[in-house]
């Protein structure tokens, strides 16, 4: 699905992390770990195409990629339902065929947001907002997911919901790369781990 070789990123003339190499096949999960500031977010953002690729290379066979970052892209002034509905119509091309498309309310239900579905997102707690952002994964059927700290702010139940969604995704042959500092670990044993280490000037010379 995605092959990365010798990829690193330079900031203030210092590589953020040691050059990384990995090859992720379809249906597999890669967990990127590392201390704060070790470049997990940077790596995910390079793979998503937000930051430019400066060192190394990667090839992706994914036709569509979904990225979920620290900024949730949930509109505060729209309700949960309206947020989901916008995503469904905006990503209609990537979303599942209209016939099998779930209703916004059932997606909100799956994410445990039933009782707040009609409330504006600004009134939600941080965890509920995160759940609302997860709806992007359910709406857009991408074959590669790039998740940056998908467990942050979530309760126990929310964490297992994320695991469940990722397992469903893998069962359909989708790949997933997630960055997490490791307090919550994906339960699936087949997950590969990539530990980022602080870079050295020698790495980019």
């Amino acid at each position: 699905m995605i092959a990365v070789s010798n990829l690193t990123y330079e900031r203030y003339f210092m590589p953020v992390f040691r050059p990384v190499n990995f090859d992720l096949s379809a249906g597999k999960l890669l967990v990127i770990t590392g201390a704060n500031g070790s470049g997990k977010t940077t790596l995910i953002r390079i793979l998503a195409g937000i930051l430019p690729l400066e060192w190394g290379s990667y090839q992706s066979a994914a036709t569509t990629t979904t990225y979920l970052g620290h900024q949730l892209a949930v509109k505060d002034d729209l309700s949960v339902i309206e947020n989901i509905r916008f995503m469904q119509s905006f990503y209609a091309r990537q979303a599942q065929a209209a016939a099998e498309r779930a209703s916004p309310r059932s997606i909100a239900g799956r994410l445990g947001l039933d009782h707040v579905a009609a409330q504006p997102a600004r009134s939600l707690s941080a965890g509920q907002k995160k759940r609302c952002a997860l709806s992007r994964l359910l709406v857009v059927s991408a074959d590669l997911w790039l998740l940056d700290e998908p467990y942050s702010n979530l309760d126990e139940e929310g964490v297992s919901l994320v695991d469940e969604i990722i397992a469903d995704h893998a069962a359909r042959g989708g790949s997933c790369i997630m960055a997490t500092h490791g307090t919550h670990r994906p339960l699936r044993p087949e997950a590969a781990e990539l530990r980022l280490q602080a870079g050295d000037v020698a790495d980019i010379e």
């Binding site: 937000i50 620290h70 949730l72 892209a73 949930v74 509109k75 505060d76 002034d77 905006f90 209609a92």
Partner: protein, 223 residues
């Protein structure tokens, strides 16, 4: 981008504008207040007011546009929606165009609709009022489109708002000159259509080039 995605984005931005009324009502009030200060500060003499009306209304409209401008990308930038647009499959240029259109519908169009009243306050001859409206209708989209480039460039800067006005006012000068010249011409019973033609040419030029520029500037701001 297909039509339904475009409609979804347009509908979302208009719905957000309905929910956040202050963003577009305040610039309108600002415009009305500035115009009502002219008779107090300069002179209430009708003939003098009528003479300065085109320039006064247009300068106030420029200022009101710049005040409203920052809102075009700000909230999408802050909550990460812009990132998603950047990496999504839909063309960023088309997204920019749609966002500017939605922004103009809630900030530019109300100014066009308010302008007859402003013209009357400033004792602009009745015959010149349709020309005033025409210049605003043609040229405020130019202001929004060109301004969008400036907003996109200053998005990630602290205090980008002040820098924005420095960036865009020089670009607004030709619009101001041609638009006021058109209204002056109609006040003096001279042909004004060449000026409107010039403004339309400017609109077409900015409609084709500004979204490309703004999309490129957004890419820079986001990386």
């Amino acid at each position: 981008m297909n039509g339904s995605a475009a409609m979804a984005l347009l509908r979302r931005d208009l719905l957000l504008a309905v929910r956040r009324r202050t963003e577009w009502i305040l610039p309108l009030i600002f415009l009305a207040v500035v115009i009502s200060l002219f008779p107090l500060g300069i002179s209430p003499a009708p003939s003098l007011l009528g003479r300065i009306a085109p320039g006064a209304i247009w300068i106030a409209a420029l200022l009101a546009t710049v005040i409203a401008l920052d809102g075009v990308f700000r909230s999408d930038f802050e909550d990460g929606s812009l990132e998603q647009f950047l990496i999504g499959d839909e063309s960023l240029t088309v997204i920019v165009m749609l966002k500017v259109l939605a922004h103009w519908l809630v900030t530019g169009l109300p100014m066009v609709l308010l302008s007859p009243l402003l013209g009357l306050w400033m004792n602009l001859p009745i015959d010149a009022i349709p020309v005033l409206m025409a210049t605003l209708a043609i040229a405020t989209p130019i202001l929004s489109l060109v301004g969008a480039i400036g907003v996109a460039l200053t998005l990630s800067l602290k205090g980008g708002g002040q820098l924005l006005s420095l960036l865009v006012f020089p670009l607004y000068v030709p619009v101001l000159i041609v638009a006021t010249a058109a209204i002056m011409a109609s006040v003096d019973d001279l042909p004004y259509s060449p000026f409107l033609g010039l403004l339309t040419a400017g609109l077409i030029l900015s409609l084709t080039l500004a979204p490309l520029g703004a999309a490129a500037a957004l890419r820079i701001s986001l990386s």
